[in-house]
Symmetry: C2
DNA sequence: ATTCTTCTTGACAAACTCGATAGGAAAGGT
DNA sequence: ACCTTTCCTATCGAGTTTGTCAAGAAGAAT
């Protein structure tokens, strides 16, 4: 029903990493934060989770930063959101009000989540990164 | 992305009212709360908002309670959710991070919201109430 | 009139989200 | 060796969500 700020930031960060992949060097947090307009301290925590999930890898030190662990074509929006939203994307809460009408509603929520998942799964990070580059090109 | 407890409670309450419409009498909050497993004091606030939006009407006094203001066929799930979620169902936040890739994501979020709205608009309270009655009938 | 039921209203508390702050650890440059 | 850069971790605070609690107002039944 509602897209959290954390989720959006995570997606933007991964897209930014995909766009700078050709430079073949780690991208510092600050650079991503400034480019995408994300609070730097919050992005720190998000990238840490993405690293824990194996989506990105980090390098420490003077020329350190983050880079993608996989190719952008293999990463879907759903993969990113599954990390930050705690994997409860399509695992519905089995602890509903348990009233007689609750299962009916749950059925509708499932239907909504299914169409949501369909869109997220078919949208890869590579698609978004390319589209964004194309947009910059026009300007 | 996520369905709030308040939203689910509101839908359950309206469905419950639809099911007891033939009895032609106001249904007290307590009765709805117990039947659907909703915290009674919280349901109080939700019904107040639904009344403010003109979806239900209330009668005070000894034989008082709530009843639907319209026929269940005219009420869609979206109508109910629009009330409790503060009308920001399809009005996307124009205050995004404003980074270069943000519009691309906003486009995807819009796509998701659109398919969401499609499901919610086509699902009427009457459909859910009937389905629930049929289910009880089988048992 | 009194009492009982029910809605109405406002204040309050626990949990989560969004972000800031501060200090530490690892690695590279000099 | 030293110092800078960067990641890493923990904690704290404002705001929202999710409820709870208690006192009040309005109407029906007796």
């Amino acid at each position: 029903m509602r897209i959290s700020a954390k989720a959006e930031y995570a997606c933007l960060a991964v897209i930014a990493l995909a766009q700078r992949r050709l430079e073949n060097r780690p991208v510092p947090i600050r650079e991503i934060a400034e480019a995408q307009g994300i609070p730097e301290t919050f992005l720190t925590q998000i990238l840490l989770k993405l690293k824990g999930a194996g989506l990105v890898v980090s390098t420490r030190g003077s020329a350190g930063g983050y880079r993608l662990a996989q190719s952008p074509e293999e990463i879907s929006l759903r993969d990113v959101l599954a990390v930050v939203d705690g994997c409860d994307l399509n695992a519905r809460d089995t602890q509903g009000p348990a009233g007689p009408a609750a299962p009916l509603l749950a059925q509708v929520w499932d239907q909504i989540r299914a169409s949501e998942t369909r869109v997220l799964t078919k949208t890869s990070i590579a698609q978004l990164a390319d589209r964004s580059n194309a947009h910059d090109w026009v300007i």
